[in-house]
Amino acid sequence: MGEAKNMHILSKEDFSEFINSLIADNSLNVVGVKSKGTKFAFGPLESADQLRLDYDVTLLPPKKYFFPQRETLVTYDVASGYQNKSLADTKPNIIVGVHPYDIMAILHMDEIFCETKSDPNYLARRNSSVIIGVNIQKMSESCFASSMGCATIDYGYDLMLTDLGNKYAIDVGSHKGADLLNKYSKNVKKALASDIQSVGKKKQEIMNKTQQEFSFSSELIPEMLGKFYEKTNFWEDHSEECLSCGSCVLVCPTCYCFDIMDNPALSLKTGERGRTWDGCLLEDFAKISSGENFRNTKATRYRHRYFKKGKYLFDRFGFVSCVGCGRCSSNCLPDIANPVNLFNDMYAESLKIGIQIDPATVPDVKIKSGDVIDYAPKIATIVKKVPMTANETMFELKLDDGSELGHEPGQFVQVSVFGVGEAPFGVSSSPTKKDTFELCIRKLGNVTSKIHTLQEGDKVGIRGPFGNGFNAELLKGKDLLFVAGGLGIVPLRSLFNYVLDNRSDYGRVILLYGCKEPRELLFGDEILSLEDRKDVEFKSTVDRCPENEVWTRNVGVITTLIPQVDFDPQKTYAIVCGPPIMYKFVIRDLKSQNVPDDHIIVSLERRMKCGVGKCGHCQINQLYVCKDGPVFNYSKIKGIPEAL
């Protein structure tokens, strides 16, 4: 920003007047830093006297004004469906006293909330807010913003204040800031050269102030982390005392994970769906209905936070998503959350064992903003319900507004049941089947159990289709080897049936399907009738056959079928889907048959809440299963330890 022409001066008295006239305007929500106990927090201002611009750090960052701790996203009425909660009545926030590191954090959040798909609630609040920053006067003990280059900032604010004793220097950073100053303040003067120099000097002093610093250059962080992923002892030692309390992430200005919950009224006829802050350090963050927890130890969760901030987000966005505010560190009771301590330990360890670490290359990132997310589901009616096994039922659905789902094979939808919740399901029918679409649902938790009680004619909410599906185009002309384990047949069927409907576009089509026992076979008649088709090679197997059941085909795990098929690895693409444990073994067997890495396609499962890559639950390294997956090319994820 061209400092000279934008710098102004306001006496302290006139500044108070400015704030008080903002407060007097009832159409604005004026908030600023106030004292709270022995600490500080952003809160509603009743008068300029309450402002404490000399503060060191606030308990919570100002992100709570754009992304509140709790907020209603959608309301519903069983009779009429879901509606987005309007933000029309929200007053614009005038946020007074934001430190540079928190401004930088807001800029990080802007990218995170708007990439690929934009979050409408965040955007609405953000766009109507005004940020009045203030240069740091007192630095907290745990602050390492200087090391992260965030102790001062030259952009991202509407106005930036610097305390010059009896007056404030105000740098105007935007038209919004200029307008605000014009409308609500008096006696604003242009800054003199000496004032501008004073500001420069103050900023330099701050940048030189260090409370905590790295013993190495911070640009080594992403690569250094990469080298330490496998070092379990390091992570276990450092996380021994972790209480899984989530304090470190809940106070963090760049954390954005959230959970979504339904809250019905007592009448059960209406209700709302809301979101609330969540944290990856909490024990059940990565736990799914089946009970599987993808990060079930303190060490893996503890490691994940550092990786997410220091590597995954760097790989995805090109910045280390930490601004050095030090809140995580000061809020950790066992004192294990200080990134400076951790990275210094890591660096010292790397010297000890002689690992070479290079500065990371900033990835060439093209983040595009796309559609605005619609959190309100559309209503669909159950037109057919066919129980297939003791626990799995097939539901055929039709959208009430008459539109096609318009999905690609491999994509998923989020299904809502009024008041109970929402859960993701892979679409099981091919898009070539018009008017309706099919889901195969296993009864497991609250949402699925409730769905199982619904009858034909009942209604559910649908969001989607979401995710990266199978690239049917890419597979044209190839031989296809489908490997389905258990419930894995469900998403594979969407592609399989698509291929059958376009049979002449594809080469050999082989389906290998394995279940635990014969009575768990899904799509029974449909699947077994494949044996009669000449244009499909179908083999099935069960892990075991109990005495009272009849099974004349192969008995053994799914991998026992692979050697029974003769295929050309160069011409063949393997499409694999099944329980987490299955992938390792199937891929090993495929590799032993020389199938190239990029000929293997998998569909993964994770805990998914928002379905649009915002809430953070399904994240594997820098990838979101709901956005970059669930279908992945193996070559893309084979290097990612969390994936398989």
Partner: protein
Amino acid sequence: MKPKVAFFDFAGCEGDQLQIANLEEEILDLLGQVEVVSFREVMKEHSDDYDIAFIEGSCTRLQDEERLKQIRKNASIVVAIGSCATIGGINSLKNYQNLDDVKKTVYGDKANLFDTYPARPIDAVIPVDAYVHGCPMTKDEFLHVVKSLLLGKKPEIPNYPVCVECKKNENVCAFERGEFCVGPVTRAGCNSCCVNEGTKCWGCRGMVDNPNENSQKEVLVKYGLSVDDAIGKFKLYFGWQGKKK
């Protein structure tokens, strides 16, 4: 068809049942969704034909077990309400003392008229389907459980510590104020109400599924409590849970 509900109380202070009376006008909405067939504190009538049983208070005598087992037989769903019923509550504090001595000194030669054994939560005697934790429980959480049961869903309760809610509510941490808090191992769901009122968490909702007890004790000692007193903090509400581990 409205489900039939019944309320029972054992060794407790009746504070949780009072929260139901504290629903005020919402009681009428509640009565629109359930049929109360037994609630000794407010009504004369009683029926053994009920679907959902709400039980307050701990089991502190052998003779109470029979009553509990009968309730379990009659009900399809049993809900424990309040800390005494869900985790043993403050009653479990006495489990650390020698009960025979206590009885004898109190009642002298009449001691054997009074039957008591270590206080325990309801699920130590009968299987329990849902829990409304807290001392007292909050009416919001009670309604949350009721609504979940009406929807045929297993109520979701947090498995993370009170710190989560405390931070969301932007409290100044108790430890920073010279207080000794057990929030880091206590199950959330109360919205950190006690810290919000200017104090600290005492642990009335019981511990999360996998608390890091050692770390919590070390934190207490680090901030100035003696080891004995730190262990003592765990006896207030975690008496039964702690001994089980």
